[in-house]
Amino acid sequence: MASPLKCDLCSNQATVHLTQIVNNKVHKVDLCESCAQAKGVTDPSGFSLADLLLKASLNPDNTSAGVRCEQCGFTQNDFKKHGRFGCPHCYETFSSLVEPMLDNMHKGTAHTGKVPQKSLERKTLHDRLGELESSLDDAVKTERFEDAARFRDEIQQLKQAFEQQPKSAR
């Protein structure tokens, strides 16, 4: 037999073992009798065990189940209901939910296929323009006119490059 498990809260021998699954991950809690009692786990009515389990499953869950996608307001429960996400940003919001799923679902967990080159170039350009424009503002405010002139030229160049691209979306 394996050596007796120790309580997660003190170092007494653990006699109460709780297992729960949250977000597809198994969480095990081992408690000694007194800690379990203190937490209400061994209440003979049996109700508090259910309560604890419910609370425990709600508590860690709260961090993710309560989360809403900031872009579209989608929640984890919505995903459980529909099996579809609300918007592309949901994949970031719920990455801890998505990642464990992918292993069983797909051949790999990272994309190795086609890259939308033009889309990405546009995005990089866009982001760079944003940076330059705020630098330009800064420079003007602090009266660093040489810097400002440099930023302005760079913005001009980028914009020209941008316009040479085929009609873009936005």
């Binding site: 592309p88 679902m105 994309h111 889309s119």
Partner: protein
């Protein structure tokens, strides 16, 4: 060009010149794409969907393959038109039942169709008669690249193209072939094949996708997973699975002829007789009979040039196509009468079967 006139012209599948492959009837590839920063269709408001529809239509109109195309909002289509589009594999059943803001753009020869606001903002599909995975990929890849010049796709470097359902992440690609596998069905080996194919990460479905039956011994085989492999790798893997299914089907045919040629010939001969003489035919029965005649062509019971007639009838015997021919509502029994009428006429002039001793060449 309107949807109505599009429907009255033959599709790639009903086109008499194209299909030549004995076992693979048609190849299809679809790509799921979404616009960055917008809610997926199932989670967006009507106004948002309308906007996506507009943006996508405009982008599509500027691409070379869709220069000459027909566009329609699903809400403008009649039930019959939707059914015909489903029967031609140009739209999905889901799209035909979807909410406002859903639409479709189909090119003139009906080889490219783009569904808008189905499960994803864009479902791009290229369809080719016969076994043409590589060709279909090069066409759809080019169209996708053209679209991407005009639209900002939702994409992450780790997860690839972001789709409403995580099962489509990565390439967003589903490549499939419609295969005619009568000998595997007759010899009871289909279940075994399905299991083996599943183990290779491919899925087998009926003629009209998920949940449809496999009448006419026609099956759709496609890749199950979309993430972790490049498009080319998926296509290569699917291609080799298809090759091996073709080989099994050919072996099963050889075996049937070797062990029980009279039984096989009897099936084909009777199918021919029924198609020439019946007065009531359900679409399932028609599919099964046509399937046997198609097998007959492969076995040289009928001349090769009959194949295009059979492939056309596979589509034209579907309920929507039968109904469309008379332009008014029909009970299903009336449809069965009309279907039998149509097939009797078609088969009155069909080549006579010639059964050689060993049934082969």
């Amino acid at each position: 060009m309107t949807i109505a006139s599009l429907l009255s012209t033959p599709s790639e599948l009903t086109d008499t010149a194209s299909s030549k492959c004995p076992i693979v009837l048609m190849t299809r590839i679809r790509l799921a794409r979404n616009l960055a920063g917008r809610s997926f269709p199932g989670w967006s408001q009507e106004a948002q969907r309308a906007e996506v529809l507009e943006v996508c239509r405009e982008a599509l109109a500027g691409t070379a393959p869709m220069k000459r195309s027909v566009k329609a909002a699903v809400s403008e289509l009649t039930d019959l038109q939707k059914q015909i589009l489903v029967e031609r594999h140009l739209i999905s059943r889901e799209l035909s039942g979807s909410k406002d803001g859903a639409g479709v753009v189909i090119n003139k020869d009906q080889t490219v169709s783009v569904m808008i606001n189905e499960e994803d903002h864009l479902r791009i599909q290229v369809l080719r008669a016969g076994f043409q995975l590589k060709k279909a990929w090069s066409v759809i890849n080019a169209l996708d690249s053209e679209l991407e010049e005009r639209l900002d796709y939702a994409y992450s470097s780790k997860l690839g193209y972001l789709t409403a359902c995580p099962t489509n992440l990565g390439t967003g690609m589903r490549a499939s072939a419609m295969m005619h596998l009568p000998a595997l069905v007759i010899s009871g080996q289909m279940e075994k094949v399905v299991r083996a194919v599943n183990q290779l990460g491919m899925v087998v479905r009926g003629l009209f996708g998920e949940g449809s039956d496999a009448s006419g011994s026609i099956f759709q085989i496609s890749n199950q997973t979309t993430l972790g492999e490049s498009e080319e790798e998926i296509i290569k893997r699917l291609g080799s699975v298809l090759e091996s299914i073709i080989e099994h089907e050919l072996n099963a045919r050889a075996k049937l002829i070797e062990t029980d040629a009279p039984k096989l010939h009897d099936k084909i001969g009777r199918a021919y007789g029924i198609l020439q003489n019946s007065h009531l035919l359900t679409s399932t029965e028609a599919m099964n009979l046509l399937s046997l005649l198609r097998l007959g062509i492969d076995l040289n019971v009928f001349p090769e040039d009959c194949r295009t007639i059979i492939d056309r009838l596979f589509i034209e015997a579907q309920p929507g196509h039968i109904q469309n021919a008379v332009q008014h509502d029909l009970e299903s029994v009336q449809r069965d009468v009309l279907r039998a009428d149509k097939l009797r006429t078609e088969f009155a002039t069909f080549a006579k079967p010639t059964f050689t001793i060993n049934g082969q060449n």
